[in-house]
Symmetry: C2
Subunit: 260 residues, 2 copies
């Protein structure tokens, strides 16, 4: 992330989340969103429609860029610049009426995320992080808070059910060392961490379109984010993510997450 992200990409990413919000927002807490109870299909339709709109806009503005989307797959994924879209990250929150889902837009250059937007269209919370810039929340710079000890840390994860196999024990070890754990926030938790309200987020079984936007948001607010081995997140990461507001805490959490 040594090279600054061009301004035009930042403005474009924000415009894309607004495009998605125009499709997603009207469906929140409507009969369409919940018509088949726990069936997530109607939301998938909204997800797909919003992703298609973002991809169409991208093809007009940056036709040479690649794209990876949750619903509609990959195109030119080998390009220098690749965009990642997840119109409704937190589908279960969306269908159950909890305004903690988010629209994620990220840009990776040569496999490394250099720009990320987390947009919550109901609460009107938007975090924007980009290489060479301070992360902003609703256009105001934000910073993570210091927290040097796990015993003082507030930890978040979307659900303990996301940790499979040995990862469940690794997460349980981290959780036991923290002051407390809270669940259920999806991408919104990383925004809260960037703004200094959470100290740690540990998650797993994530896809590039789930985590690519989070890395620039956390890093640009002074936090540390990596996989569970401490390696920088790339589009080839294994789906395990550890974010800490305080880099000292990140190092401690990595030791607890180490296997064996």
């Amino acid at each position: 992330m040594s090279e600054a992200c061009p301004d035009e990409f930042v403005a474009f990413a924000e415009a894309l989340t607004e495009l998605a919000a125009g499709i997603v927002r009207p469906l929140f807490r409507t009969a369409l969103a919940v018509s088949t109870k726990a069936d997530l299909t109607p939301v998938t339709d909204a997800d797909r429609e919003a992703e298609a709109a973002m991809r169409a806009r991208l093809a007009e503005v940056f036709p040479g860029h690649g794209v990876i989307g949750e619903e509609l797959g990959s195109l030119r994924a080998e390009a220098e610049y690749v965009w990642l879209f997840d119109p409704i990250d937190g589908t279960k929150s969306f269908v159950t009426g909890k305004p903690l889902f988010g629209t994620l837009v990220a840009l990776a250059r040569r496999g490394r995320p250099i720009l990320g937007v987390i947009d919550q269209p109901i609460l009107n919370d938007r975090w924007v992080g980009a290489a060479g810039r301070a992360t902003v929340h609703n256009r105001a710079p934000v910073r993570t808070r210091p927290c040097a000890k796990l015993a003082e840390a507030a930890l978040a994860a979307t659900t303990p059910d996301m940790f499979l196999g040995a990862d469940a024990a690794r997460f349980a070890r981290l959780k036991a060392a923290c002051r407390f754990a809270t669940f259920g926030a999806d991408c919104y938790a990383y925004g809260l961490l960037a703004s200094g309200f959470l100290d740690l987020v540990a998650e797993a079984t994530m896809k590039p379109h789930d985590y690519a936007a989070l890395a620039p948001v956390v890093a640009g607010a002074g936090g540390a984010i990596s996989d569970w081995e401490g390696r920088p997140l790339t589009l080839a990461s294994d789906g395990r993510v550890l974010a800490a507001g305080d880099p000292r805490l990140h190092a401690q959490a990595l030791r607890l997450l180490a296997e064996g």
Copy 2:
């Protein structure tokens, strides 16, 4: 709940949540709320101040009524009418900046909840349920949605960590039978259930000030709510709560929660 709750009590309960909101709302996402990181003490102070304000108002208006509060204990708990206050239900959500905590005000007559208010002062969501009335959300009547099968049900709980001993396996059995589970909403989940966005909420280790307000909200929207044995909630219940939007689903969930 056969006897209707007097109007004056309903209006008074709503006024009490507004009193609490005036104290709690300004502290959300402020340095005070998070000043000591994961230490919950500053929030406890806000909780106590809001509870004291509600108790003082109660003493003026209904001096013969009893009161049970999260922070300041019980007074005249043997009175015919007893009020229950929890200014910040969902302390962890509050301190981590998630607007899913709530202010709970309930009134019990001879140990049975007859009135409940769930108020979310940041999102401005208020559910009011009372014996003899339809539950309202922001003054509009709401109904739970039909869902006859566990396999189609969306289940919520605040955290899987709230289930101790054998209850963890009982909850896991229920969760495995449902379409999916979502975590992290505290009292707000019961409001979402009353409004038809969730089908089941199963929780445990709750105190009367946590659950008393929920019973009239769920029942007045057409749902079923009880302990895990199917008994109506009273101030002497054991802290296990099962709420279902569809009474048919409630019966099925009870069978799965049965021990053995």
